[in-house]
Symmetry: C2
Subunit: 198 residues, 2 copies
C-alpha cells in the first residue's frame, strides 16, 4: 500500500515517541475469536488522515526469555518442536507470564520447568516486541547465572531437548540459518553486550 | 507447564534439525477464524509422548525487512503507529509478501512505497521467525545500498515518518528502550556483522 511520508530528523524521532501525529483512534472494538491460546480482537479505527480501517490483533499476556549461563563461555539452549512451522527450533528457554506473576518470577519458574536449574544471579537485559503488526506481545529478557541443578524437578509433560554450547559459536549458527528464532537472536545480541567485552 | 527434558550435546542439536523425536503429528485441523488480516488455524495433534493437544496458530504469507543505507554510516528508519500496542515504533521498512511475489521484489516495492527510494545494490542477510509459538511468519532481511530518490512516488495512503540516523547510535537506542521492535534489533545485529568491521 502506498504511504504518506513525512520526513523528520532523528532527534524528533526520539522526542516524539509519545506524540500522536500518527495515532489511530479506536471507534469500535470486539473480541472476534477466542480460542484456548489465542484471542483475536478486531477494532475499527480512524487513521490520522481521516480514513477508516480495520485492525486485527492478538492480545498476549507477555512472556519472558532466560539466557542461562553455565559459565562465562557457555549457555544452555533447547531444541523444541514448534508446530506452526512444523520443525524443531534451537532457542533459549521462554514462556508466557501467568496472571499476577512478575516477569522475574516467571523467568525463575520457566528456567526450572524447562531446564531443571535454579539461578542465584539474575540480570534484566531489556524487553522487545516481536510482532507489532498483529500482536501486543512483549518479551522480557533475563540473564541467569550461578546455576544449580534441582534434581527433584523431573515432572513429565511437554518434551524438549537441552544442551550447552559456547555462546561465541552462536553467531555462526545465526549466519548459517541454524538459529532463526527472533528471541534467541536477540538473546545473542544481549550476551554480546553484557559479556562480549572479554 | 512441566517438561520432559532430554539432555543432548551441541553437535546433536545441529545434526538433528530434521529429526522427529520431538515431532507432533496432526490428527485434525480446521480454519477457526478468518478475518481480513488474520487467519487462525486450530489443529489437534499427538505429541511424541502420546498425549493429545490443541495447537492454535496464525498462517502468515511471510514478510521482508529492508535496511536502507544512506551511506556507510547512516540508515533510514521509520516511525510508525502500531495499533496493537497503541504507540509509535522506530523500525526499518517492512511489509508482507504478496501472492506470487519473490522476497527481493517485495523488498524493492516496500522500500519504494515506504521511503520513496530505489536501491541499486541489494544484499540478502538472512531470515528469521518472529513468533514461533503461534505464527508461521518468516521475515527475510535485505540491506539496500546506492539509494536514489524516486520523486514521482508520492501517493497518499498510510502515514509514517522517515528519518536518517547513524547506525552506530542504534545500539544505545536498544539499550535504553527506544527501539523494542524485534526485526529492527535483528537489523542492527546484521548491520554490525556486514559493516561493523570498520
Amino acid at each position: 500500500m502506498p504511504h504518506r511520508i513525512r520526513r523528520i530528523d532523528a532527534e524528533a524521532a526520539c522526542a516524539e515517541q509519545g506524540s500522536d501525529a500518527l495515532a489511530e483512534v479506536k471507534l469500535h472494538g470486539r473480541l472476534a475469536y477466542e480460542g484456548d491460546m489465542l484471542r483475536v480482537h478486531r477494532d475499527i479505527v480512524r487513521c490520522p488522515d481521516g480514513h477508516i480501517a480495520y485492525r486485527e490483533f492478538i492480545r498476549h499476556p507477555g512472556a519472558v526469555m532466560v539466557i542461562p549461563m553455565v559459565d562465562e563461555d557457555h549457555v544452555l539452549l533447547e531444541r523444541q518442536f514448534r508446530y506452526p512451522l512444523a520443525r524443531t527450533f534451537v532457542e533459549f528457554p521462554a514462556g508466557k507470564i501467568e496472571p499476577g506473576e512478575a516477569p522475574l518470577e516467571c523467568a525463575q519458574r520457566e528456567l526450572l520447568e524447562e531446564t531443571g536449574y535454579r539461578a542465584r544471579d539474575w540480570i534484566y537485559a531489556g524487553g522487545f516486541n516481536n510482532a507489532i503488526g498483529y500482536s501486543d506481545e512483549r518479551i522480557e529478557v533475563f540473564v541467569a547465572r550461578s546455576l544449580t541443578l534441582d534434581a527433584t524437578r523431573r515432572d513429565p509433560g511437554e518434551v524438549l531437548e537441552l544442551f550447552s554450547v559456547r555462546w561465541r559459536q552462536l553467531d555462526q549458527w545465526v549466519r548459517d540459518g541454524r538459529i532463526t528464532d527472533c528471541k534467541t537472536i536477540i538473546g545473542i545480541y544481549w550476551i554480546e553486550r553484557l559479556l562480549g567485552a572479554g
